[in-house]
Symmetry: C2
Subunit: 466 residues, 2 copies
């Protein structure tokens, strides 16, 4: 451990510092290993020490101390991100927010909480308080934190109704601490939220979050099978356009995803069947059944409110979003994925074009998502990985066809996003992190403003494997 | 009074029968007089007697008795419809459901009630019970009944989010009594709902309603002024497409509607200003303000949560939907209106085309409405009435341009709708009303299956003025 790092650690020794080496390793890692590309580059990455502040004052102390000693700080929640968001590339301090898990206030339509609370616990609190829940969550609901979701996520279960986290109204307020000699505490709303949401903790640390809530219904979870892919896609999109049917989730799995990778679903679908997963409000079930009866070939194989399955499938959202990839990976370790945007109004044609070109090397997994008021698709396609070159070729083919890729085989904000500099985030980093110590290596614009994106960015400060 | 009618009345004399001649006249009339065309034809229409059953058993008794005596029965709620829905064209019995106003059950996301409860009272009950309210309501919320809304309405405040009443999921279940020798009681869900919803009580009488509910927030009500019409329209539509901003209402009034017809708003807008009315969930206000700040020229002139108006405008939805027409009519009795559908994706271009052709003879009043998942417009255009021929000419010009008209100057289901026979409603009328006694004259398909729609339908059984 370098002397400056050791000094910072010593200065923070009265805080909750992780002692177990295996826990330090575990808390230095996120789910970057979904990507063979990131796995090859980041597997050795580890923090020098891990600290878990108990409140905002301790966050300030950690940041001021590390600032004084020039120690990098990578902040994380549960580390369930897949873009290497929480990987401490330059070592130093990992600041874990697990202790900051209080709910401060629940009101009709909103909650105020600390960042380290699990999505699951936050929902349980809001449901018990007043029958409410968060509008959207990642499929890692049971293990992920709200702060990690806001700082490193983009949307999820609920986005078929509410759109993405970046849409106006889906985050109300963030309280943020800067990393300066004397850290400042700032409150962001409205236009200012974009400075720090989805910024991987590169330019400020979120210490309080105000989120909108929606009613917590006893969502009915369904699987609906189709003999062909196109009718499954049409059905899911059609439901997404039914204004009177309240959905929390609508997912399409191309065959043979369900049969090959979903162990408990396997007895109920044929290899050639595509599957749709749904979460529907109970008061919308009559509408759902009517819509389904109008759809030739749609066959409901599971509904959580009337199941005859010997082995229950568990929560259905844990088959969707990036849990699809996880389930596939468990069966076939050579599987990885891509994150794709199929935008309205060409979304269905685009999916079919990509599918014609790449299936089954690339299998379509679509999430119905609202964007600018229109139902379209986020794709979390399953990719049979062979080489990095082939993966890059597949990415390029998507982009050439007009499908935007949020590349999960890159660890920078820009490469995982729209491959362009976010001026608001960069400008705020100049203010809030003048020494560039917050989650270093994740914002190309900070390191290398003239980067051309022709190849994968390699952070020069990435600590070498020993 | 004809002997058969007198006999039916006598047989029902133990029920709640209206005695006052002025009340009989009042309860024989709805808001048909918004239309000069209907006013010229229906002003003399009056029931022979008015009965108000207290429960379903009494509804059955009324229907069986009137069936036995061949007496027409026109059923109504508060009579706030504008298409003459509740006008007893052939006289006979008006059955008023004011006594059937019980709420039977409220659950998360749904309510079961009788048809005669006022929308306002239903909402008050659901809010007190569990912070819920109905998804959509007519601007006559304070005086209209849920049964009248379901049987004679199409949508309203809330339709910018939830679509129309006819959309799957916006009505869950209807309990219906037929008019046969021995009336039957039927329960309709799903596909069957279309038989009797929006059928003006021509083919069955609704005695119980199950509707979905949404959370009852303390909606913030706003007026936003613009110097030009197009930016006002863009703003309202843009808000309708913001998936993270929860709206209950987004309305556009072309200048000088607000200045000329909205007395309490007049001091706050110039004659040339177009106005947008909004109802926004409190947790979405930051998003709303951010969106508004992005819109050049948008000026918030009123918000209910921070008003400095000397005279409060009252509930903002009472300026919208058909209350706009009502307010204009009060100032200028020569005003009437049209009901227009401007469908996605041509809605804005279509509005501009019509406006270029007809403003200010026709002033645009637009309601943002969701249809098949897309924000578009329902127009309730204000029309300066001169002659019936000119009104017909304006209607034709809309249709020629591609804007569908639901003509509120006609009293039949078909002419006020899509000018085509609804086979499901007709088929059910054959079953449920074999003598054709329910609200006679309102379903052309029943009276004259070969009607060509070339001119206004005139019901041959319309009782002559005395």
């Amino acid at each position: 451990m370098k002397p400056n790092v050791a000094a910072a650690k010593a200065a923070l020794s009265h805080l909750d510092i992780e002692k177990s080496p295996s826990a330090i390793r575990a808390k230095s890692r996120d789910f970057f290993w979904y990507s063979p590309v990131l796995k090859a580059r980041l597997d050795h990455v580890e923090a020098d020490f891990v600290v878990a502040p108990r409140d905002e004052a301790e966050v300030i102390e950690v940041l001021a101390t590390c600032y004084a000693h020039d120690v990098p700080v990578t902040t994380r929640g549960a580390g369930t991100g897949n873009y290497g968001q929480a990987m401490p590339l330059a070592g130093g301090c990992v600041m874990h927010l697990q202790n900051m898990n209080r709910v401060r206030d629940v009101q009709p339509g909103r909650v105020i909480c600390e960042p380290g609370i699990l999505l699951k616990d936050l929902d349980a609190h809001c449901r018990a308080h007043s029958g409410q829940e968060i509008r959207m969550f990642s499929s890692t609901w049971a293990t992920a934190t709200i702060g990690g979701f806001v700082a490193g996520g983009s949307g999820g279960v609920g986005s078929c109704t509410w759109g993405s986290l970046r849409d106006l109204g889906n985050i109300i307020r963030l309280r943020v601490v800067t990393m300066e000699e004397t850290p400042r505490v700032l409150e962001f709303r409205g236009e200012e939220l974009a400075r720090v949401s989805h910024a991987y903790g590169t330019n400020g640390i979120i210490t309080e979050i105000e989120m909108p809530l929606a009613p917590a219904y006893d969502w009915v979870e369904l699987f609906v099978a189709f003999d062909d892919f196109a009718p499954a896609m049409d059905y899911a999109e059609g439901l997404g356009n039914e204004d009177g049917i309240l959905l929390k989730l609508a997912t399409v799995f191309e065959a043979p995803i369900a049969h090959d990778y979903f162990q408990r679903v396997r007895p109920h679908v044929a290899e050639g069947q595509s599957l749709v997963a749904l979460m529907v409000a109970p008061q919308s079930m009559d509408g759902l059944l009517t819509f389904t009866a109008r759809t030739p070939g749609a066959r409901i194989v599971y509904r959580s409110d009337a199941s005859d399955w010997e082995k229950a499938p568990g929560r259905i959202f844990e088959y969707t979003w990036n849990h699809t990839t996880l389930r596939a990976l468990k069966v076939d370790p050579s599987i990885t994925y891509l994150q794709v945007r199929y935008g309205f109004p060409d979304h269905k044609a685009l999916v079919e074009r990509i599918r014609a070109q790449f299936s089954p090397e690339v299998l379509q997994h679509l999430e119905v998502l609202r964007e600018n008021g229109k139902a379209m698709f986020a794709g979390l396609s399953l990719v049979k990985f062979t080489t990095e070159d082939r993966l890059d070729e597949i990415v390029r083919a998507h982009e050439d066809a007009g499908a935007m890729i949020f590349n999960p085989h890159r660890y920078t904000l820009e490469e995982g996003g729209r491959q362009s500099v976010d001026d608001r985030q960069l400008a705020f980093k100049r203010e809030a992190d003048p020494k560039g110590l917050l989650n270093p290596g994740k914002m190309i614009a900070w390191d290398d403003p003239d980067w051309s994106y022709e190849r994968m960015y390699a952070y020069p400060g990435l600590r070498a494997a020993e």
